[in-house]
């Protein structure tokens, strides 16, 4: 079949992409990321990771927008939340997305973690990615803790007092944690601003960085097959010679140049 010359529309689309590709290789990289080979028997459970990522991105974006109206000051925080909910156009929606999305994010984190655990996807050589994932879980829970204070209502205030004092009951280091979280020896003027900074700058920054590492490791190490897969992922070691595939289906599972046997 003769190759048709590209249409004008095609050329209009391709030109900027080619421009970018020549100068950065980004288009190829993204294409590689999206269309890389994965085991043939991946299933819907494998989408929980990207679902979690999506939930986090929703949190990041709605959070940034909420920050445009929120005032992290003990005297005006509650009123600014009331204003977002009642007065600002669609403020109730964005705040609702952020509030309920927080639960969605945490639930998806646990489901994704359960999938990885039950599929044995944490085993060699992916232990480091499990550890990074656990750090992400802790940071996600920390986001929940710090975010709960920000509406600055009675529930948030006293829940935070109790949560900080629970930290305080840790042996030896407890009192230090209390001071670090309060910013002083007691709930004070700096506590709310401190939680706000942790909630919207420090913790999300760390989450973004760790997600980058998490994805890098996913791409580098490949996706695991389910435990019931005839590919028997994990029963082989990466440094063993790659055997010829018994059927054509397996040929696509190993990238050229990749370590043999890891899927």
């Amino acid at each position: 079949m003769a190759k048709k010359p590209p249409t004008t529309l095609r050329r209009i689309v391709d030109y900027p992409l080619d421009w970018l590709e020549v100068r950065s290789g980004l288009v190829g990289a993204i294409r590689y990321f999206l269309f890389r080979k994965v085991p043939g028997d991946t299933n819907w459970f494998h989408t929980l990771g990207s679902a979690t990522l999506t939930a986090f991105l929703v949190q990041a974006i709605t959070g940034a927008i909420l920050a445009m109206y929120y005032k992290p000051d003990p005297n005006s925080a509650y009123q600014s939340i009331q204003r977002i909910t009642n007065d600002v156009t669609l403020g109730w929606l964005v705040r609702g997305m952020h509030k309920w999305g927080a639960s969605v994010f945490i639930i998806l984190l646990f489901l994704h973690m359960g999938r990885v655990f039950l599929f044995g996807a944490y085993k060699y050589p992916r232990e480091l990615n499990w550890i990074v994932g656990v750090l992400l879980l802790l940071l996600g829970l920390f986001e929940g803790l710090t975010g709960y204070l920000l509406p600055y209502d009675e529930t948030g205030y006293w829940a935070t007092v109790v949560a900080i004092n629970i930290n305080g009951t840790a042996p030896f280091l407890g009192p230090f944690l209390v001071n670090l979280l309060y910013g002083s020896a007691d709930f004070g003027t700096d506590t709310l601003a401190r939680f706000y900074a942790l909630h919207m700058l420090l913790a999300p920054g760390a989450i973004f960085a760790l997600i980058g590492l998490h994805l890098y490791l996913v791409i580098r190490l490949g996706v695991t097959s389910p435990p019931w897969s005839p590919e028997a992922a994990g029963s082989e070691r990466p440094l063993e010679p790659q055997r010829p595939s018994p059927d054509g289906r397996r040929a696509g599972l190993v990238r050229p140049g990749a370590r043999g046997g890891v899927r």
Binding site: G25, G28, A29, Y32, P74, N75, W158, V161, V162, I164, N165, I166, G168, T169, P171, F172, G174, P175, F176, V178, N179, L180, Y182, G183, S184, A185, D186, F187, G188, T189, T191, L192, Y216, I219, R220, P230, A232, S235, R237, P238, L239, P241, Q242, P246, R255, G257, A258, R259, G260
Partner: protein, 319 residues
């Protein structure tokens, strides 16, 4: 389904060093309670067993991966391109460290660059880290608070007293105390001033009895307005997890680990002034004849007596 092959044996074989390492750490923690000599012993054990453990772990893998990797050529670990690039000439030929001839000057320059970078990095990082962490631990100088004239506190009656610890900082420093005048003790006025922070996890403890909000008093002092509400509690109880206390603040039921904290107080110019909070193990007796087992201020949930007190060697910082 292809037959499963037996998985490879653990390399390195299991060893007992990690147990020794854990014992060492346990002894360090024990030493924090008993004394510094035990800490030293624990530290020596930890470091020693840790070294043996690490030596065992790395012994098996010292040469193997490198040899295997090189025998397998470009398919060894690390050889896979993360993102496939355009095949082409590498800018610099890759060489193992041994193959590169090092000159003293290049070694010096490398060290100088790294050292200078570390120095600059430290100069920037350390003050910021100091600023991030240390202010939270500086015991803030807590000014005493004027709760108003003594006449507002009739003998034997409780007042729910709310005040701002620091009027400049505002409502966020508002605290509540239960204040009772006990009459004169050796010619000096005696007060029972109980903090409303539950000794379990810091929730606001409530008086168990009628609160006469009709007779609320707003007392203007030099700094702020103090609110006094009469109450006749039979006990104090916490709404969060059911902690219960008697009117001296002794725990009677529920999860709290000690009695309710109290405030120090002084009498100046006929006014009641309160100062720092202190923690209380238990109170014997009532009113002005009470014997209070007094400690530095500890955070809620931290034991001050019993065997568990050794888990909390450091009190809360206070100015």
């Amino acid at each position: 389904v292809e037959p499963r092959r037996p998985s490879q044996p653990h390399s390195p074989p299991p060893s007992l060093w990690p147990i020794g390492f854990a014992v060492g750490i346990a002894i360090v923690l024990l030493g924090l309670i008993i004394g510094w000599g035990i800490v030293l012993l624990g530290a020596v054990l930890t470091v020693g067993f840790g070294f043996l453990w690490i030596r065992d772990v790395v012994a098996g893998s010292e040469t193997a991966p490198r040899a295997r990797a090189s025998s397998r050529g470009p398919t060894g670990i690390g050889a896979a391109p993360v993102v496939p690039g355009r095949p082409g000439e590498a800018a610099l030929p890759l060489m193992d460290d041994e193959e590169v001839e090092r000159y003293p000057r290049s070694v010096f320059l490398e060290g100088a660059t790294l050292g200078l970078g570390a120095l600059i990095g430290a100069a920037i990082t350390l003050p910021v880290a100091w600023f991030a962490i240390v202010p939270a631990f500086e015991g803030e100088k807590q000014d005493e608070v004027d709760l108003g004239p003594l006449d507002n506190f009739p003998e034997g009656e409780w007042r729910v007293t709310t005040f701002m610890e620091n009027p400049v900082q505002g409502q966020v420093t508002r605290r509540t105390a239960f204040v009772r005048y006990n009459g004169l003790l050796r010619g000096e006025p005696s007060f029972t001033i109980i903090s409303n922070h539950c000794a379990h996890l810091g929730c606001p403890v409530q008086p168990g009895g009628p609160i006469d909000d009709q007779k609320r008093q707003e007392v203007k002092t030099a700094q702020e307005v103090v609110t006094l509400i009469p109450t006749t509690p039979a006990a104090f109880s916490c709404p969060c997890h059911g902690g219960a206390y008697d009117t001296e603040g002794n725990r009677t039921a529920g999860p709290p680990v000690r009695a309710l904290d109290r405030y120090q107080f002084s009498i100046r110019n006929g006014h009641l002034w309160i100062g720092n909070v202190f923690s209380v193990g238990s109170v014997d007796g009532t009113g002005k004849s009470a014997v209070i087992v007094k400690y530095d201020r500890f955070y809620p949930g931290e034991h001050v007596d019993g065997i568990e007190q050794y888990l909390y060697p450091l009190p809360a910082p206070q100015g």
